[in-house]
Symmetry: C2
Subunit: 152 residues, 2 copies
C-alpha cells in the first residue's frame, strides 16, 4: 500500500507525463546514476548557451533553438530519481531534498518554467531576449544547486 | 583547418540540428561521460517499454507515448560524443566506431528511424503495432551494441 501511495504521489508530482512503470523495481544506485546522467546532459546542452549569453561563445540562434529543445526533454528527467530509497546512496544530494520536499519541487518547477520560457524566446528572433532567457535558466540551475546540492 | 573539417563533417552527419558550439573545447573524458549519460537515459526510458513489449510489465499506452517522446530527444544525443579525440579514453566503445564510421552512422540512423516509427505508432491506439515498434527499437539498440560495443 505504501508503494501505491508513493506512486500516486509521484504521478501527481510529475503531472500527466510520468514513468512510474517498473519504477518500484529500479535499484537506488541506478536511480542515482540516471538522475546524474540527466544533469550531465543538461550541462552538455546548457553549457554552450551559457557561454553565448556570457558573450564567451559566438551567438548561434540555431544552436540555441536545438539545445533548448533537448533541454525541454532533459528538464523532465531527473526528478523521479530523487526517490526516498536513494537517501543513503553516496551523492551530492542534500537531505533537504526530502525534508523540504515542497521547496525542492518548487525549485524543479522554476527550472522547468525557465526552460519553457527559453524555448519560447528561442523561437523568436530577439537575441537579447533569448540571452536573457538563457540567464533565467542558469539562475534556476543555481537556485536548486545552492539549496539541495553539496558545494562542489 | 582539420578542426573546421571535422566540424563541417559533424554538422553534415547530424543534419540541421547539431551542437558544435564549443565542441572543440570539450575534453575527451567529458565527451565519453556525456555519451554514456545519454545511453543510461535511453535505458531508463526504453527499459519499461521493453518490459511491456515482452509482456513482463502491464501495457500502459500513456507511459509509452511519454517515454517515446523523451527517447526522441535522447536518440539524438550520444553521437557527437564519439569524436576521434575519445579513441583512447577507457570505455566499451570498439575501434570499429572509427574504422567503420559509415556503418556506425548507419546503425545510428536505424536506431533513430526505429524511434520515430515508435513515436508514430504510440500516437495510434494499436497496442500490437506499438509493441512491435518497441521491438523494432530494441533490435536497433542491439544491432549497434553488437558491432560497436565490447561484450558486457
Amino acid at each position: 500500500m505504501k508503494m501505491k501511495l508513493l506512486l500516486a504521489g509521484l504521478a501527481l508530482a510529475l503531472g500527466s507525463g510520468y514513468t512510474l512503470t517498473a519504477f518500484s523495481q529500479v535499484k537506488p544506485d541506478v536511480l542515482v546514476k540516471q538522475r546524474q546522467a540527466a544533469m550531465t546532459l543538461q550541462g552538455k546542452y546548457f553549457g554552450p548557451m551559457g557561454g553565448m549569453a556570457a558573450g564567451k561563445v559566438p551567438y548561434r540562434a540555431d544552436v540555441v533553438t536545438y539545445n533548448a529543445s533537448l533541454l525541454d526533454a532533459l528538464s523532465r528527467m531527473p526528478w523521479d530519481g530523487f526517490a526516498e530509497s536513494t537517501k543513503d546512496v553516496k551523492s551530492a544530494a542534500l537531505p533537504a531534498i526530502w525534508s523540504e520536499s515542497a521547496k525542492f519541487k518548487q525549485a524543479q518547477d522554476s527550472f522547468q518554467d525557465a526552460v519553457q520560457a527559453l524555448i519560447k524566446a528561442s523561437k523568436g528572433s530577439d537575441e537579447a531576449a533569448t540571452k536573457a532567457a538563457i540567464g533565467g535558466v542558469g539562475k534556476t540551475c543555481g537556485g536548486c544547486h545552492q539549496n539541495f546540492r553539496q558545494k562542489q
